[in-house]
Symmetry: C2
Subunit: 359 residues, 2 copies
Amino acid sequence: LIDLVVEDESAGARAKPTAMGKAVRIAVDAMGGDQGPGPVVEGALTAARDMGLAILLVGDRERIGPMVEALQPRLAPRCDVDVIHAAETIGMDEAPAEAVRRKPDASIRVAFQLAKDGRADAVVSAGHSGATLAIGRIVLGKIPGLERPGIAGFFPSLTGRTILIDIGANVDCRPVFLLQFGLMAEVLAAQVFKIERPQIGLLSIGQEDNKGNDLVLRAHDLLKAGVDGFIGNVEGRDLFSGRADVVVCDGFVGNVALKISEGLAETSELMLKRELRSDWASRLGSWLSHGAMRRFKRKVDYAEVGGAPLLGLNGVSIISHGASSPRAIKNAVKTAADMARADLPQRLTKRLAAAQTNA
Amino acid sequence: LIDLVVEDESAGARAKPTAMGKAVRIAVDAMGGDQGPGPVVEGALTAARDMGLAILLVGDRERIGPMVEALQPRLAPRCDVDVIHAAETIGMDEAPAEAVRRKPDASIRVAFQLAKDGRADAVVSAGHSGATLAIGRIVLGKIPGLERPGIAGFFPSLTGRTILIDIGANVDCRPVFLLQFGLMAEVLAAQVFKIERPQIGLLSIGQEDNKGNDLVLRAHDLLKAGVDGFIGNVEGRDLFSGRADVVVCDGFVGNVALKISEGLAETSELMLKRELRSDWASRLGSWLSHGAMRRFKRKVDYAEVGGAPLLGLNGVSIISHGASSPRAIKNAVKTAADMARADLPQRLTKRLAAAQTNA
């Protein structure tokens, strides 16, 4: 088995020494994000302060430099923050394949190169998720034995959160992809989120073994044979019930699931707000209960995790939502640091190798 | 083109005369429903009173007869309500194929036979949805030119509601199935829900034409060529945004979508209630705003439509949720009556034939 951890010796030799000594170093694509670098820089600086991380902000030095100068003294005065210049940015509306070809100096590419070179332990991007996936695969490569990297998303549940994989990296899957998603997310749940004996479910249209489409029926057998914590089929409602810690599906279904949840949450909030403004009793009532409302919103808010881990590359990376708040970025950077500290790529490689030995 | 309307001459000759003369007659499987016949009978009687319908309650006469005697004088004293005996019931945990073979006198089968014989204009069932689908296909048959019947579900949106088709009848689809779902739901939206020039979207993971899995990419071209109101791809969030009146997807994705929405709505309500009980200000606040909360709940409540139309059979039928309230059943019966009044099976047949002529 090849040792593929980011901090191998050769990488360490090239690593830039940091003021914090062994602090985990996170490369953040500061040019991603729908509202420009502002929320990304603010979130990254806050993460540096709260978790003693070193931050490499990648992007246009002319824009990011002044932001760091303005924010760092207040937010993270004693932290190790560097700006790494990247001349280009990939816009949210660019075709990934073309952007990859045409922009060798794009901020997300430079960020992944820092990880490849051992100068960063993880990458966080709030930019173009398709381009992030494509460039991550090109620059870092896949771990050995893996068919396809997958993106893990998080759903708020009654007992904490549910991990859904894949939420959009692979729209057409073969059964073995789903098996490997399950194996990888099981490791993520256990090693990064410290869940003992995670429960892994397969997303279907009924709990019975014989329910599902052709892909799910065939994947069911593979997961049953290969994944320790497999509990069988689960249904859409189980993303929120806490029945499973990890739910496996193909990237088309996962992406639809994510966007339905976001859409329903946003629409419900809008409808509820409208109703709560419609008469004086409701207005007073909602003012009195705004603390409870805020706590509720925080529980169902995706910003609590802050991003979606991209699993299966030779390195750690997190894809954040383009509209991420500073708090979402802060939490994404924290999750990325936890993944790096857990040596996740090495653990995933070992898990896949063990599964293949068993097969 | 064969005339397949339920009320054709031969059927009319066999039709049981009702006290209301030309009243629309709805056969209701009274044995469906998780809580037994009670809510179903109550909902059906209320519908009879509110909409001047004739109701045929199908099931165990020994159980349903006394319920009708007890409820009718209060709920629907001057309405035409009959009990049609059926000796058997299909349980929610039975395998559809076996139940179909083994129980020729099941209540849902007797209900469909009433429609087949022209004694009922539509069927409403809150029972086993798989068995309802299977028996509906056997007894009534598909309309000419149709590949597969589809089930249409409803999602609350900012502007009203969105129809999603298919929500579970077909877990593995070919592109032409999706085209025909779009054609059928367009007619449903226009003729039953009176939406002028309905907008039809294809559920995908991005609005661009080139986003989607293999099925969606191929279905896109068919829908673009064949469906008048086709607006291209829509995303999960658009089930609630009001961007489309109809959203088309395969039955696996649709079923997951439905159960995710139900699950998130239930979980959110539970979490919010918990928070609203956590301190006195919130408790008082939620008491003051309970009117707004109730109006909000009613807007997002699936009971407002009450059931899912099964499109593509030679007859009208609605599949209701097993946990349906009397209000849900009442609304399902109302929707079924609207579908019957609109001669939906005949209109769908004509629409499919026109699409084939164009192709």
